[in-house]
Amino acid sequence: MFNVRFHGRGGQGVVTAAEMLSVAAFDCGLHAQAFPTFGSERTGAPVTSYCRVDDRPIRFHEPIEEPQAIVVQDPTLLHAVPVLAGVQPSSYVLLNTSRELSLAGVPDGDRVAPDRLVTLAATDLAREVLGRPVPNTALLGALAALTGVVPLEAVLVAIRQRFAGPVAEANVELAVRAHASVAHDSMGTVRAMGPARAGGTVGGRA
């Protein structure tokens, strides 16, 4: 079973991200389950969503407490909610930020393996490609590259199922570009992009 936890704020497509990942997994013939934890529903409030992927049916319903991957869609949450709770030495952490930042002082930040932490300027890239600061499809593309939980093609299928017309195609482009930016070496293992990289790692931005 592969467990992904998404953290973000209302309006950033956090719930949609987990749902699209589950659709992508389902498209690959895997079993999947996605669900959110809401506070009171309002734009800007912290939102958590979950996606489980397995090759056998998933029978239970409970939050993911020991995720294999954590996606943080909004870096301002690092000090606001325990986004890294339950992080394992092998857990991937995909962080949306265009700034230099450190996990120093972030609860459980010291438990994140440096080579498993990847940053991506997903909001900048989304603004450039979509014209809107919604980073979720970029992060899904990157997550696919980072973890291999689903192939990029499945993510694109899920995006096209969720959105229509030009919006779908713009999100596809966004996911493809984010995917390409997360580099792999020839063995297929992730090359660390560093916990404190300035200026983002994609989109050609300085």
Binding site: F26, A32, A34, E41, H61, E62
Partner: protein, 377 residues
């Protein structure tokens, strides 16, 4: 899919997206020959459903929590009038303190309202139960609540095998009302009935509910024949053969219960689980038959009767009253607190080791540190 002719609903979390989607289906014409009534309250929603159903329309609504309580008076009227309305209850806690998350306090508060109550274990079953609910309701002339755990199921994306419309049409035939308000042949329904006949009306309701036990089972059987999938019905047992300790649940905890049973069996603990799909009418015989071989039963539910304790546990104990079975009662998952496999496992292990006394309500997941910080010892 079930072709309701009138949907009247008032939005409340975590039901909102259900009725929003239905209003969209009506607006676009995808749900044809259906009127969506935007009403000013839940009381109006159920009242509109009563009116619609009384003139022969298939009527549907959905609600939760305070909304369900606000419509309570009309809920009793629907069953008293024998109207086969179907309502989704997106189970949510009741305030105070206000809480939008899941437990079963809302549906349990209407336990005695004369409605059939079916509880879904997962999203697939929630889907299937809606098909079955319309058939059961219209066959028995009783209203049906399909209870699904708020957020846990209402907001979950899971694999669902959606039946084809033709299959559904064959399974849920057009509504043929057993009584009908017709201006050309005027009658009064729901008129005042005094002491001379009120008891008899209630007696007939009880009789009809008793009959409904058979109908619920029969419709689940027909469903399996038609769709090739076992879903709904009265109760569902898992590894009950030679089980010493049986966990009884209802709702979305069922899946975790099966996982825990598998783990405990691997450890050599003879555990099993029984999921109650039908809570009202109470399937006394089915419960008794399923649990008769057990030595210990633990009932875990997401609501309780303040000042008394277990709600479902009372019924289970009653069904087993003359059998040598110990019944332990537990509550957990209140107000959205997740019921984790680890919690369930600890509970069942404790019961299997005879560590949990009977005669009191056990709280599955009490935060003792929080209580201590509030000065409670």
């Amino acid at each position: 899919m079930c072709r309701p002719q009138v949907v009247a609903a008032y939005p409340i979390s975590p039901q909102t997206h259900i009725v929003e989607a239905l209003s969209d289906l009506v607006r676009t014409g995808e749900l044809a020959q259906c009127e969506y009534l935007t009403v000013e309250s839940e009381f109006a929603a159920m009242s509109a459903c009563i009116g619609a159903s009384a003139v022969g329309a298939r009527a549907y609504t959905a609600s939760a929590s305070q909304g369900l309580l606000f419509m309570a008076e009309a809920v009793f009227n629907a069953s008293g009038l024998g109207l086969p309305i179907v309502m989704t209850v997106a189970n949510r806690a009741i305030g105070a303190p206000i809480n939008i998350w899941n437990d079963h306090s809302d549906a349990m508060a209407l336990r005695d309202a004369g409605w059939i109550q079916l509880y879904a274990a997962d999203v697939q079953e929630a889907t299937d139960l809606h098909l079955q609910a319309f058939v059961v309701a219209e066959r028995t002339s009783l209203p049906v609540m399909v209870c699904m755990d708020g957020f846990v199921l209402t907001h979950a994306v899971e694999e669902v095998d959606l039946p084809e419309q033709e299959q559904v049409d064959a399974f849920v035939p057009p509504f043929v009302p057993q009584q009908l308000l017709d201006p050309d042949d005027p009658v009064t329904i729901g008129a005042m009935v005094g002491p001379e006949a009120f008891t008899e009306v209630r007696y007939l309701m009880q009789q009809r509910m008793d009959t409904a036990i058979g109908t619920v089972a029969e419709v689940a059987h027909d469903f399996r024949e038609a769709f090739g999938r076992s879903s709904g019905g009265l109760v569902r047992g898992y590894r009950l053969e030679d089980a010493d300790t049986v966990l009884v649940t209802l709702g979305s905890v069922a899946g975790a219960a099966t996982e825990v049973v598998d783990e405990l069996r691997e450890q050599g603990i003879a555990a099993g689980t029984l999921t109650l799909t039908c809570f009202r009418p109470w399937p006394d015989e089915a419960v008794r038959e399923a649990l008769a071989g057990a030595r210990r039963v633990v009932v875990l539910e997401r609501a309780f009767s303040v000042g008394r304790g277990s709600i479902v546990g009372q019924d289970v104990r009653d069904s087993l009253h003359d059998l040598p079975v110990t019944v332990v009662e537990a509550v957990g998952g209140l107000g959205g607190r997740p019921v984790r496999r680890s919690d369930v496992r600890r509970l069942v292990e404790g019961v299997a080791a005879d560590l949990l006394p009977t005669g009191r309500l056990h709280f599955l997941d009490l935060d003792h540190a929080l209580l201590a910080s509030a000065g409670v010892r």
